[in-house]
């Protein structure tokens, strides 16, 4: 393993995590939040891979590799489940946003859609 510097990848991983974290807090739309979680996960994977590459020895450390492999599959499944849940939220409330705080209620076009959907689907 050549003596390379992986700090750039570590920093990029941290930056990806924080970008996702910020979006998760700021965005109200559930699809955007799910995507934000995926971006956060990608940052974690990048840090793991960079750490694996830093270890001495003939090959990169296989343990973080195996963890990332596990993590990718789990993250795909979590995304699938989250999308199904988001669709249920849409079917139940007519909105693709969570929350009953004034922020969600005040957002421009959410409320009329909600009342329409409730009329259309009484027994959801």
């Amino acid at each position: 393993m050549p003596d390379t510097d992986h700090r750039l990848y570590l920093l990029a991983g941290a930056a990806l995590f924080v970008i996702g974290f910020y979006s998760l807090l700021v965005q109200a739309h559930l699809l955007r939040r799910i995507m934000a979680l995926n971006v956060m996960g990608s940052g974690v994977f990048l840090v793991f891979i960079a750490l694996a590459a830093q270890t001495p020895g003939p090959i990169p450390d296989p343990v973080p590799h195996a963890m990332v492999l596990t993590g990718i599959v789990v993250s795909v499944c979590a995304t699938g489940l989250a999308l199904a849940l988001a669709d249920r939220v849409l079917a139940a409330t007519g909105r693709v946003e969570l929350g009953d705080d004034e922020d969600a209620a005040a957002s421009s076009d959410a409320t009329p859609v909600a009342s329409d959907a409730r009329k259309e689907k009484p027994a959801a």
């Binding site: 700090r7 570590l10 920093l11 991983g13 941290a14 930056a15 995590f17 924080v18 974290f21 910020y22 807090l25 700021v26 840090v47 750490l51 694996a52 830093q54 270890t55 001495p56 020895g57 003939p58 090959i59 990169p60 450390d61 296989p62 343990v63 590799h65 195996a66 963890m67 492999l69 596990t70 990718i72 599959v73 789990v74 795909v76 499944c77 979590a78 699938g80 489940l81 999308l83 199904a84 849940l85 669709d87 249920r88």
Partner: protein
């Protein structure tokens, strides 16, 4: 607006903290490379990543297969998914392409599974290919014809978890340790788990795309378990 600004400042602070954290990690961490390589001849496979996944840390992978199953069970209980419409007659080119590509993808999935024992590859990579093949088949309008057997789908989805659990039980009986394979036969156990996991992973990933329990074609709302009065 004020809230966004505050959250932005908080995120920047988090970025600073995380950057400091990753940079302050040792530049030459000891890692587990040597430990995993030292035991590799006993693990039954020669690909160290596969050895970690299914021998040293098989417990992780067992739980992961459980997570996959939970995810698809959750999606199936939340929604119903409709097979994409079968309009292949309008797209002869896609039909010809699928006829060639689908078998190739199946073959490649099997190849990745087999090669995982001694080179990069394994059940997860093969499962991802299999899932992609299923998505392609669904997009091409073949889902209803190929996949519309819910009992078979259910069996395939739980196969990985069942075989994994069975291997756990048998190895415990044989050696007394959870997933502690009898000496010399690790490769066989690993391949048995991986073959079953390949099918379950591929089916799970493919059916997650459908986004719900497949809707039956014949009656609009049949009972979940048709009872046969004997």
């Amino acid at each position: 607006m004020m809230r966004r600004l505050l959250l932005g400042i908080l995120s920047l602070a988090l970025l600073a903290a995380l950057s400091w954290a990753v940079l302050s990690l040792p530049a030459k961490p000891t890692g587990l490379t040597e430990a995993s390589l030292a035991k590799l001849p006993e693990s039954g496979v020669t690909n160290p990543v596969t050895a970690v996944l299914l021998n040293y840390r098989g417990y992780d992978t067992l739980l992961e297969v459980g997570v996959l199953l939970l995810a698809i069970v959750g999606v199936w209980s939340l929604r119903r998914g409709e097979w994409p419409a079968n309009d292949l007659r309008d797209r002869p080119l896609l039909q010809s392409l699928l006829r060639v590509v689908l078998p190739l993808l199946m073959l490649a999935a099997g190849y990745l599974l087999w090669i995982g024992g001694f080179a990069p590859g394994g059940a997860f990579q093969g499962g991802a290919l299999l899932g992609g093949a299923l998505v392609l088949a669904m997009l091409g309008g073949r889902g209803r014809r190929v996949l519309n057997h819910e009992r078979l789908l259910r069996a395939g989805l739980v196969l990985g978890a069942l075989v994994f659990a069975a291997v756990c039980a048998v190895t415990m009986l044989l050696t007394g340790g959870l997933l502690q394979y009898p000496p010399g036969s690790g490769g066989t156990w690993i391949m048995a788990i991986e073959s079953a996991a390949l099918i379950s992973i591929g089916l799970t990933l493919g059916l997650l795309y459908l986004g719900g329990r497949p809707t039956d074609t014949t009656p609009p709302s049949p009972p979940a378990h048709p009872t046969k009065h004997a």
